[in-house]
């Protein structure tokens, strides 16, 4: 069984890191996983995205997928750009602090969560990415909160380890957010 | 009757039976011999690695009994860097012409000096590309006629010649930079002392050491050896002044 994900947003929102944490989590669960950025040399400011392909059967995943199971968008531009790429029956998750709540397609699921707002409430806007990852993990049900926490510990570099408790908090807030109310 | 003592012989570092292929009267032969004498005197021949260059000195490895690598044109000091970094215990030196060192290889030469690589570089300056038939090179003097400056080097067409030893002296990584000449016995003695210093510096680990040797090219200059040495004195030395341009060991 193969599932693929896109995480997209502004440069600097930490989407590559969120993707790396998710990919690590799948690896820790014993799956094959491939992570690649849209563009290797993206600098701060532009839009950035990465794709994660999780596979528990094939040993080598294909790349350059035309459809995606789960797409997490942290800004409006990404939402507009990636909406058509969601697989029929798939799911788009959006940061409603920055993305307009619109549902142009009726063949996919929508999850809107005010991620930046929640991160601000926690006291750090930069936690948006990991908070959003909590939402994605809950929505897909393909890995556990416990494994993602472990992955987070693995990915954060030593000089950022002081931020681990806050990241875990953010992850849990995203995971616990009751988005059933806003499901299409 | 007193016993005969040999006071002059072929240095051990010169390959036995080898015959120099340099043109008659060319100073390369003297320069190579001086390097060989220094290797002998310091006892470093069998721990040294030579990086040969492209030009008249290309077959230097046929004359010296020293492990040698031939570098592509201009890259000798990049090769020397690689060797020295891989095997810091070896004595590593290059022997290059002015075209190799200061034209096609200027970037490699300057950056090797700037990094302060602990190697020795010898550069022969004869104001022309000798092997290809006497064309204009980086050190060709203003006014000098060559096969590619038929009316003489003028600034509009060709720009200025480079004063190599001065440039190398400006590099912070340079430990020693000197210009010497082979036009007379006293100057040959000074040249040998400079070459020796450049190798001793490497043995002492003080950094990049460089000797520029003013040299003749009687064939392309169309002069006898005597006339050629006169040219070194009368035309080259006023521009390329002899001397030590940098020596960080001076005050120690």
């Amino acid at each position: 069984m193969e599932n693929n994900f896109i995480i997209a947003g502004f440069g600097g929102q930490g989407v590559l890191l969120a993707g790396e944490v998710l990919a690590n989590s799948f690896m820790l669960d014993g799956n094959n996983v491939t992570w690649y950025p849209s563009y290797g040399a993206e600098m701060r400011g532009g839009t950035v995205n990465c794709e994660i392909v999780m596979n528990d059967t094939e040993d080598v995943s294909s790349v350059n997928k035309s459809e995606t199971d789960y797409i997490l968008t942290l800004n409006q531009a990404s939402f507009v750009r990636f909406l058509p790429k969601v697989k029929k029956g798939g799911c788009i998750i959006a940061n409603s602090t920055l993305v307009e709540e619109k549902r142009p397609r009726d063949d996919i699921k929508y999850i809107f969560v005010p991620m930046t707002e929640l991160a601000n409430e926690l006291g750090n806007t930069k936690m948006t990415n990991i908070l959003s990852l909590g939402v994605l993990v809950k929505a897909c049900g393909l890995t556990s909160l416990e494994t993602v926490t472990q992955a987070l510990d693995k990915v954060l570099p030593p000089h950022r380890k002081n931020l681990l408790p806050m990241n875990i908090k953010a992850l849990n807030i995203g995971y616990a957010y009751d988005f059933s109310l806003v499901r299409a | 009757m007193a016993e005969l003592t040999q006071v002059f012989k072929v240095p051990e570092s010169i390959k036995k039976g080898s015959k120099f292929s340099f043109c008659p009267g060319c100073d390369h032969g003297v320069a190579v011999r001086l390097v060989a004498e220094v290797l002998d005197e310091l006892g470093i021949r069998d721990n040294s690695i030579l990086v040969a260059s492209i030009g008249c000195s290309v077959t230097l490895y046929d004359f010296l009994e020293v492990d040698s690598l031939e570098a592509p044109h201009g890259r000798a000091l990049a090769e020397a860097t690689g060797i020295k970094r891989a095997r810091p215990d070896k004595v590593v030196f290059t022997y290059q012409g002015d075209g190799d060192f200061a034209s096609i290889g200027m970037a490699e030469s300057l950056h090797c000096a700037l990094r302060g690589e602990n190697v020795t570089a010898i550069c022969i300056n004869n104001t022309t590309y000798g092997m290809t038939g006497g064309q204009l090179g980086p050190t060709t003097l203003l006014g000098q006629v060559t096969t590619t400056s038929p009316t003489g080097r003028n600034i509009d067409y060709y720009g200025y010649p480079v004063k190599i030893a001065e440039h190398i002296a400006l590099c912070d990584g340079t430990a020693y930079s000197a210009r010497v000449s082979l036009d007379s016995v006293p100057n040959i003695k000074k040249a040998k002392a400079a070459i020796k210093k450049a190798f001793e510096n490497q043995l002492n680990g003080v950094g990049f050491s460089f000797v520029e040797i003013l040299s003749t090219c009687p064939t392309n200059w169309k002069k006898t050896p005597q006339q050629a040495h006169a040219r070194v004195r009368e035309e080259m030395m006023p521009v390329y002044k002899l001397g030590v341009y940098k020596d960080i060991t001076e005050n120690n």
Binding site: V33, W35, S66 | N47, L64, P72, E79, I83, R85
Partner: protein, 359 residues
Amino acid sequence: MTECMEKTSEKVLTKGNYAIANAAVKAGCECYFGYPITPQSEIGEFMSGKMQELKRAYVSAESELAAINMVLGACSTGAKAMTSSSSCAVALMQEALSYAAADELPVVLVSVMRGGPGLGNIYPSQGDYNQSTIGGGDGDYKLIVLAPSTVQECADLTYKAFYLAHKYKNPTILLADGLLGQMMEPVEFKKYPYPEVDNSDWALTGAKGRRARVIRSYAPKAENQCEFLKRLHAKYDLIAQNETDWEEINTEDADIILVSFGSPARNAKSAMRKAREMGIKVGVLRPITLFPFPSKRISELANTAKKFISVEVNMGQMIRDVKLAVNGRAQVELLNRPVGTPPSVEEIVEKLKKESGIV
């Protein structure tokens, strides 16, 4: 991450570029010389810290010209040495690669391809198949060329690159592309699996107790050059005989064979599985060594397969070698993207459906 990568038993999620760099360190690479260029700069960044930590050599060279020549210098002493670069900068290294081939030096070059010609762009590409396998230096020489398709293979083939370079005293290229360089996958860094090659009979060490050795390419006499080239090419024949490597899936009964190396081979495999489900008899042949190219095997398969499709991210370069191997006995077609990501699985499946008359 550096800590994790020390462990051999555990998988770590890492980029192709880091996998290559870490594998080089584990392979015993003593010297790294480099100049930055996207999309492989992580290799030099990793090496700058790691080599200093291990008290090995690292030099930020002034240019790619200098970098590759420093590698030649280090290799002349028998050291394991490498550089890494990309497309337009590998172009600058061609002279030195020709010298290294003639000097028979064990140079390892990691080439992470980007778009060309000229400055091109930094998107992934396979536009340097010709540059690597045919080369841009002067004279009759060959480089061993290894092409990974996964991040694990980036590590494994880096080990192999060092081994083959030293075993055959031949410059060796690890040919990846920008996608593999930036891609992260779980990697297991095994122990360097190859024996150390004895180089005491040729390396420059200073002529203590023996005649001086000369490593040179200059051959002033034509008859010497004839002898040298014959010997050199006998070595290339031996390399072809011993080291040709490829992966082959479902080719026995295949009517159509997809030939693809590097990252597009991943999509070729997925497309093959989908097409097989539709009853199309497709196989995949993935060259792992581009020189030596698996020509002999492709030639054998041309007896049973009706069609070969070369799947590449360039304007069609490897297809020439496929055609030479097939030698007119089957059709050979190209399915390509000029630059960027590989042809999608759907695109390849469509092509296969069309070829087998399903659509």
